[in-house]
Symmetry: C2
């Protein structure tokens, strides 16, 4: 029988820790490849493919928010880094850094959600570790996940292949996650109207990953679409011209941003894909995305131009403004 | 030019974060497989072997202590979980959860140390992520690492194969790390006399991993040798009889433990191996260990007996006492 709150003894390697691992982690994450008695877990990957690995830390606050929680976020964030690289996600490892005093029921809900998200994304959690830190030295719960997947040997996605004339695409509305988390921190009345877009992007990314003319994909998480645009500009040395009218932003997200003084282009999405593609491939990618529920709002939002590296937003009233690189932090602990 | 302290803006995905990653992480961890512009990194493993994966979180306090720091600890802790599984460590991923206000020079020293430890252990850091959490919601720096290695297909190490008559071995003195960290937290006069044993155990573990008669290896980190003994007892259903006179404990460790009321058998070592082997293999393992500087104090410390699962310590004065399973936390944030 577990305590009502996590204590330091749940992290010491002894009986309490084994109970916590058995009754919370192993129970919700059970799969044939998970054996919590091992120091290292064997795994197998399909032959003829290239293995890829990615890792991500999660410090979102609050731990639970409309549309998700730190558990589903950790799975989807890691799965999505594999998917936008053209890789099929296969397995995950999980680190939990738990703050003394965290409600056991909250931890249980989050690990259960993490397990559901992993099953939904088709990945097995094969190894894990838990640490408990003293009260006042944590944020309730921090997670770190590493994901392993495989991609086709001829996959050549990368920012370096981007060239002038290419089209910038996004698979759905931007900023939903950032706004949902921000509202969940406060007692705003409109909270109910908004949910995070936290979801796997596997079904969006993998069917188009091998398409000739697709140059690059990335999920616009920390720093949002504007930050992905800046990363592309910096790596390619080219100019991105984005069209404000074309970037899908939900009315509810737009009005919260107006009220709070945030720019939605800098806010995280956790279930979207930004892609850059040659013009002849862009239409096929949009058609593929729009055939899915999560891709109904997919749009071409800009073009790659020659000229000085940078990001310009063509405004709805016909002007243009520089989308600056993010310097100050608009929203700490959002992912 | 980096700030003197880490700020929240170093975690937001924008310019400051890119600078932090380039000037601290990418600089110290540079290797041909590390490309910080990728969402997921391709990797290759030697053919004909079984890939294995392990993961570990690190929350030690203070961040730097005699004999190591959280950076070298993270590399060696993860490398050692692979090595005791009979696997050659190949690559690592790294998560850093940094508390706002951490001195940049301290972070730099730790990442530099992590890089040195990785090179010494022959592993490449191929992917990473950094998050910055607000002041008062972290412990300076938490790290989480995942390690991937390969082992021989016929490697069958595991607690299940342990049987009565087997011998329990340890590769060196126990409790050094636990005592070094505990003293580093306080201003004890004798601090200088003790250092952590933090080190890779690859040279100890791998040469014996394929030996017939070796059943199982584990590094006695959290909870120490007593906790490994309990894990063996629980998994095998057998009794471990350990000999107090045979367990190597440094005089300095013993006297600090006496003074502070700790039992050295429950204190973490971070560069030792506990092994269980058939009697005919035990001598060869000890000889292999003792041929190395780090294995000079290797010893046979007990035997596996039939009877009720548990751990008994035969005391130096000829009595015996139960080594209980750890319940209370003797030393939080020790690894």
């Amino acid at each position: 029988m577990l305590d009502k709150h996590v204590t330091l003894a749940h992290g010491n390697g002894g009986r309490y820790m084994h109970e916590l691992i058995a009754e919370v982690f192993a129970r919700h994450l059970a799969n044939p490849a998970l054996d919590t008695s091992l120091d290292a877990a064997p795994f197998a990957l399909p032959g003829g493919k290239v293995p890829v690995v990615t890792t991500d830390g999660f410090t979102v606050r609050p731990l639970e928010f409309p549309g998700g929680d730190i558990g589903s976020l950790a799975v989807n964030g890691t799965v999505n880094d594999l998917a936008v690289s053209g890789a099929e996600p296969m397995l995950l490892t999980l680190n939990a850094i738990i703050e003394e005093g965290l409600e056991m029921a909250c931890l249980d809900r989050i690990v259960a959600s993490l397990g559901r998200a992993a099953r939904a994304a088709g990945v097995a959690v094969v190894a894990g570790d838990t640490k408990v830190v003293p009260r006042g030295q944590g944020g309730g719960l921090y997670l770190a996940t590493t994901g392993i997947g495989v991609r086709a040997p001829d996959c050549s996605l990368g920012m370096k292949s981007i060239r002038p004339g290419d089209v910038v695409l996004v698979s759905g509305s931007v900023g939903d996650h950032g706004v949902a988390v921000m509202l969940a921190r406060h007692e705003f009345e409109m909270k109910g109207a908004l949910a995070s877009d936290c979801a796997p992007v596997t079904a969006l990314a993998l069917p188009v990953a091998g398409l000739a003319g697709l140059r690059f994909m990335r999920d616009p998480t920390r720093g949002g679409v504007a930050t992905v645009a800046h990363e592309i500009a910096a790596a390619s040395g080219l100019m991105l011209r984005l069209s404000e009218a074309a970037i899908p932003v939900k009315d509810s997200v737009r009005s919260v941003c107006k009220m709070m003084g945030y720019d939605p282009y800098y806010l995280a999405s956790e279930g979207r894909v930004v892609a850059v593609a040659a013009p002849e491939a862009a239409g096929r990618i949009l058609a593929s995305w729009r055939s899915l529920d999560e891709g109904k709002a997919a749009a071409a939002i800009g073009v790659i131009a020659a000229g000085r590296a940078g990001v310009i937003l063509e405004t709805e009233i016909g002007g243009e403004r520089l989308l600056e690189e993010l310097e100050d932090d608009p929203l700490p602990r959002i992912c």
